[in-house]
Subunit: 176 residues, 2 copies
């Protein structure tokens, strides 16, 4: 980790680069200038901070996203959540099982379609989401500490641009 607040991307490699890690002896070549590589490093960093921030509430990023979408769209079906968030079907089932076991969300049978369930938050789930809002504000502030609020807005705009360029995606395999 660089100890300065310098956030300029590293230049073409005349000398070894440190990129997103702290080992000055290792030359990362072009990696720190590759969008996909840096997106992955930044995403891992943000998720790391998220996991720390929400450790007490025992909420992981995908759980937070699912709870948000169910809260904003009560009665949503699993397939809709899966599409909206780009979460694989099988992963979503396990995730909902966990939320249901913890009493945060519930699956309600749909009279008109025996195979599907309408998703709702429980009262406990709604109460939890209220508490999480403050944690999220602090988390956002921490991950954006070096780029500031205007940098954060600019970053969001650019990230929407990347998603728009490629189209929606889920990965059907592990990404390692």
């Amino acid at each position: 980790m660089s100890k300065t607040a310098n956030v300029r991307p590293k230049r073409a490699s005349r000398r070894p680069e440190t990129g997103a890690n702290g080992d000055a002896a290792i030359d990362l070549g072009r990696l720190p200038q590759i969008v996909g590589y840096m997106l992955r490093r930044a995403q891992l960093a943000a998720f790391q901070d998220f996991l720390r921030s929400y450790a007490e509430a025992e909420i992981r990023p995908a759980q937070y996203a699912v709870l948000t979408v169910i809260e904003r769209n009560p009665g949503l079906k699993q397939s809709q959540v899966s599409t909206a968030l780009g979460i694989k079907r099988a992963n979503l089932v396990a995730l909902l099982d966990s939320l249901e076991n913890r009493g945060l969300a519930k699956r309600v049978p749909v009279a008109t379609d025996r195979r599907s369930y309408a998703l709702h938050l429980t009262d406990a789930g709604t109460a939890l989401m209220g508490k999480l809002a403050d944690i999220n504000a602090a988390h956002e502030k921490r991950v954006s500490a070096k780029i500031g609020e205007s940098g954060r807005r600019e970053l969001l705009k650019l990230l929407h641009g990347i998603v728009d360029a490629v189209g929606p995606s889920t990965l059907d395999e592990d990404e390692a």
Copy 2:
């Protein structure tokens, strides 16, 4: 997927938002304004394009990163690659097994340390990396199609800022 080139982040939610997906009927709430959420969506999009781009070469993002680092630092140890790229030790072992089986990289025993190996590209690995450079340029251009080259540079700068704010990270668990 929005059909316009509009990359502005969506405003506070007076109406349902479409965010990073195409389903206008689903309200994603604050998710499209959360850095971690959008980093994940953009990273998945970029990796999706990477996987398509490199499908013929059968190279995945992490393999590309590992090959790059070995090429730039011949003789590197596994533990150094693991630290530099934030790849979990166990995942790296499997990844190197695969590269070695395909004849792209090799582990050379280190005389002074029986437990560690020095990593090198084979001639085939070096030749492959030469070919991949062109694919990478086209991939970068595609993912940056909506934000342009200046947006791409700005994005890299901001992503380095996110990593610098949180510190280097690996995830020891699945991220779903």
